[in-house]
């Protein structure tokens, strides 16, 4: 169910090619094929971070070197083969776990750069700690001939890497990575816990890279700091993955075959400036093909090759039949009219000199629909950000359903049952509507498995009017559809409290009426408490039980709708003093 026919065929073909090479080719061809397999493992495991999670780890090559060194030093130190290979996985994995703490503080090009600095750091340590590593002399293994066993191991490792990629792209964990790639904050507020996901994928990729390094070192039987931690080799796997197409199942393999082939030709034809040619290749890939060869338009026009340029997960998702029912699969929350669900007391947050939320106290009862209004900049969205854990209050207490929210992470807040939408929608752009909703279903408190989530996404999409767009990528949706997706995704998280931030603005009158009906249904049928920020007053007026008016971060009115609209301060600050005074 997880593996589609194309991927399995590819895996079988790859296995057959790997098996045939040493039978038909001589030692030279087998050696080249072995280094191709090793490069492929490096490129593909790099892409788990790079392609799936969107983090450019330029220090991936260091794991390869550490794996090679661990293997050789264990072997030379008298350990047997198997424990040496175990060390080649374990040492880089532990190193990766230690690195994860500082490195994942960074994002984007800062992360890329800081990870690149890891490679010379390892080189320096290897050079200087010569008591352990034999320094710049390098480590030689006792004379041995292991081409065929090393090749077999590289082949098995490569197949395992493809299998791991398939398992990853079609798993809940894989979708956590895809959510992180698109928008970390949005991922967190649907319940994805960021750091463990990042840590796990880094450790996994380090283990594979380390083993690849060990296999290569076993065959080389000599390693030194320059070949293991040289900056001019460090980006080879990255360049390979990117050349073929990062994030594509077969992208790294295509890149590996092309670049290794080119490299072998160069070795024969050129005696100097090899690094220049290699640098120019990297430069040109960066300039013309940062999306990869398989995504190039010319290749996309060839029907047989076109599927190679599409991301693997899209095919998995489409296999799940669309089934739109009229009821949302949400168990109604028992109504307890007088029970409080949210309590904010003396909540304060200022940005520099601007006090965005000022000693705000607000209580919300279970099953209420609250309209939250106020002029621009009065603190409505900031209050939502405080409740959902995006910001932390500087002062005050925040309790939800009997527990304090202060100090909780965003994903913990989400799992307690607080869902939210963003005023400017933040969908996971390169995933489909179905996948967007499925992520929320998988990562809520009682999350369901991937296949069920893919199926159960349909009713939520239908509720939000997106049933025809289930397989559309979110970044291809119009603004209103994105807002609808925000609502569907927030509902899929099974919230007890839903924070809606200006979903109706820009809708036509008919659409607004339908939306108001939705809000009423959310409360009446499923028992979800709603706080709704909206500027379309007529829409609010149709459905809210209570109106809370903010001005300059303070509550200036908190009363049933009919009373609030007669309040002098509300008239002055929000509804318009001039019209009030004129009458």
């Amino acid at each position: 169910m997880k593996f589609d026919a194309g991927a399995v065929t590819g895996l079988v073909v790859l296995a057959a090619v790997i098996a045939v090479v040493p039978l038909l080719g001589g030692a030279y061809l087998t050696t080249v094929a072995l280094s191709m397999l090793v490069s492929f493992v490096l490129a593909e495991s790099w892409d788990w971070l790079g392609g799936e999670m969107g983090y450019l780890n330029l220090g991936h090559y260091a794991f390869y070197g550490i794996g090679a060194y661990s293997f050789c030093l264990f072997l030379v130190g008298g350990a047997a083969l198997a424990p040496s290979f175990v060390a080649a996985v374990a040492v880089p994995a532990v190193f990766a776990a230690l690195l994860a703490v500082p490195m994942f503080r960074l994002k984007g090009d800062y992360f890329a750069f800081a990870t690149l600095a890891i490679v010379p750091l390892c080189g320096l340590l290897t050079d200087n700690l010569s008591g352990i590593t034999k320094g710049s002399e390098g480590v030689s293994l006792p004379p041995h001939y292991v081409l065929i066993p090393a090749y077999t191991m590289a082949g098995l490792l490569a197949l395992a890497t493809v299998a791991a990629t398939l398992a990853l792209t079609g798993s809940r964990f894989g979708y956590a990575l895809k959510a992180i790639r698109n928008d970390e904050q949005a991922a967190e507020v649907v319940g994805v816990r960021l750091f463990p996901a990042k840590l796990r994928v880094l450790v996994l990729s380090a283990g594979f890279a380390g083993l690849a390094g060990a296999v290569q070192a076993w065959q080389f039987s000599f390693i030194d700091p320059d070949s293991m931690f040289g900056l001019s080799f460090a980006l080879v796997p990255v360049a390979m993955a990117l050349l073929g197409g990062s994030g594509l199942l077969w992208g790294p393999l295509v890149g590996v075959v092309l670049l290794t082939g080119a490299q072998q030709l160069l070795l024969i034809k050129l005696s100097m400036l090899q690094a220049t040619i290699y640098g120019a290749t990297i430069l040109l890939i960066g300039r013309y093909l940062p999306g990869g060869l398989l995504r190039a338009r010319a290749l996309q026009r060839i029907p047989i090759l076109a599927p190679l340029g599409r991301e693997h997960h899209a095919r998995i998702a489409r296999r799940v039949a669309a089934a739109a029912g009229d009821a949302l699969p949400l168990p109604p929350i028992a109504a307890a009219a007088d029970a409080s669900i949210l309590g904010c007391r003396d909540l304060t947050l200022s940005f520099g000199g601007l006090v965005a939320v000022d000693n705000l106290t607000l209580n919300v009862a279970k099953g209420e629909i609250i309209g939250l209004v106020g002029p621009n900049g009065s603190g409505k969205t900031t209050l939502f950000n405080l409740i959902s854990g995006v910001y932390r209050p500087q002062r005050g207490a925040l309790a939800f359903d009997g527990r304090s929210l202060v100090g909780l992470r965003r994903d913990q807040v989400a799992r307690l049952g607080i869902g939210r939408t963003y005023q400017i929608p933040r969908p996971f752009g390169d995933l489909t509507v179905r996948e967007n909703i499925a992520i929320a279903l998988m990562f809520r408190e009682d999350g369901i498995v991937l296949a069920e989530a893919m199926a159960e996404a349909a009713p939520f999409a239908a509720f939000a009017g997106l049933v025809a767009r289930l397989e559309t990528r979110a970044d291809a949706l119009g603004l209103q559809e994105r807002k609808a997706l925000e609502l569907a995704r927030a509902l899929a998280g099974r919230p007890k409290l839903l924070l809606i931030d200006e979903v109706a603005s820009g809708l036509s009158t008919v659409e607004v009426r339908r939306f108001v009906d939705h809000i009423r249904e959310i409360r009446d049928r499923y028992g979800i408490t709603v706080i709704w920020v909206e500027h379309i007053f007529s829409a609010l007026a149709q459905v809210v039980d209570r109106l809370v008016v903010l001005d300059a971060g303070r509550v200036i009115a908190d009363a049933p709708l009919a009373d609030a609209v007669r309040d002098a301060r509300v008239l002055a600050t929000y509804l318009g003093a001039a019209s009030g005074a004129a009458r």
Partner: protein, 292 residues
């Protein structure tokens, strides 16, 4: 440890740190304005240093003349490089733009090091100026180093005045704070980006000549300088000249003492360790400018 040795090491560290700060200025300026982390930045210093050393060996020109000879070509190269290779990436998706700039500047690093290595050789060299020596008791300061430090201060001040007082400097600061806002006010951001890349390259070329006057340079030393510059701008803050100068001097002094008290081969470790420690200990302080 006698006080004069401490002072001697301190002076050496301050000088080295001042040079690091110059490298950081360019990197910080380019990142602040064009959002490009130029991985080849330190390598530009290395190559300029090698070229200036070769030029000095051939002509014995004085350092100011060497700068006049080597800085303008690097400036023009920086402009052309940005306009031809980096600028077109701005049209791509954000993720592809980051990948593209990383690959292009890394490719440039490898090409520059390799070509220079093949043409000029991989050996270390410098600009061996013979000059007077100032002695304060047991503390000895070559006059050359005084000139280098004067050069660093003048360049810092000039850059500060340029950014604060000139119209182009104001435009650059505008683009740094809000690219679209600056564009609405009529700043030609494509030109501002390319000019900034050129100015950053020019500064690092000046630093290259100054560096080669005291320390040996070779075609492959550049990346470790880029790492140091990166550490400095993380500590000192993007676009903060005074902060970068202070952080640079701190790093230079720390390296000098490490080399003296422990062993010279451990000195390069300091910057990476400082970087990692800062990332672990002060993540909040960095959050402000790390991502928008």
């Amino acid at each position: 440890m006698p006080i004069d040795i401490i002072i001697q090491i301190l002076l050496g560290g301050i000088l080295l740190g001042g040079l690091y700060a110059l490298v950081a200025f360019g990197l910080s300026l380019i990142y602040g304005v064009a959002r490009i982390l130029n991985i080849a930045h330190g390598t530009m210093l290395a190559i300029t240093g090698v070229v200036a050393s070769e030029l000095y060996a051939a002509t014995s020109w004085n350092p100011l003349l060497l700068m006049v000879a080597v800085v303008p070509p690097v400036f023009v190269f920086g402009y052309a490089f940005h306009a031809a290779l980096l600028r077109p990436l701005a049209r791509r998706r954000k993720h592809e733009e980051i990948i593209g700039t990383v690959l292009i500047t890394t490719g440039l690093l490898i090409i520059m090091s390799d070509v220079t290595g093949v043409v000029a050789g991989t050996a270390q060299r410098n600009i061996p100026l013979a000059g007077a020596v100032l002695a304060f008791g047991d503390v000895i300061v070559p006059l050359t180093q005084v000139w280098i430090f004067a050069g660093i201060l003048v360049l810092t001040l000039a850059l500060h005045l340029f950014l604060k007082r000139s119209w182009f400097g104001r435009a650059v600061r505008g683009v740094t704070q809000d690219g679209i806002g600056a564009a609405i006010c009529g700043v030609n951001s494509a030109r501002a980006h390319a000019m900034t890349f050129a100015i950053g390259s020019g500064i690092v070329a000046v630093a290259g000549v100054l560096y080669a006057m005291t320390y040996p340079v070779d075609p492959y030393m550049g990346f470790s300088l880029t790492v140091k510059a990166f550490t400095i701008i993380i500590v000192g803050g993007i676009g903060n000249l005074a902060g970068a100068l202070a952080a640079g001097i701190l790093l230079g002094v720390a390296e000098s003492f490490t080399a003296f008290l422990w062993a010279p081969q451990w000195a390069p470790l300091i910057s990476v360790v400082v970087l990692l420690v800062i990332l672990v200990v002060f993540p909040r302080g960095l959050a402000a400018w790390r991502t928008a």
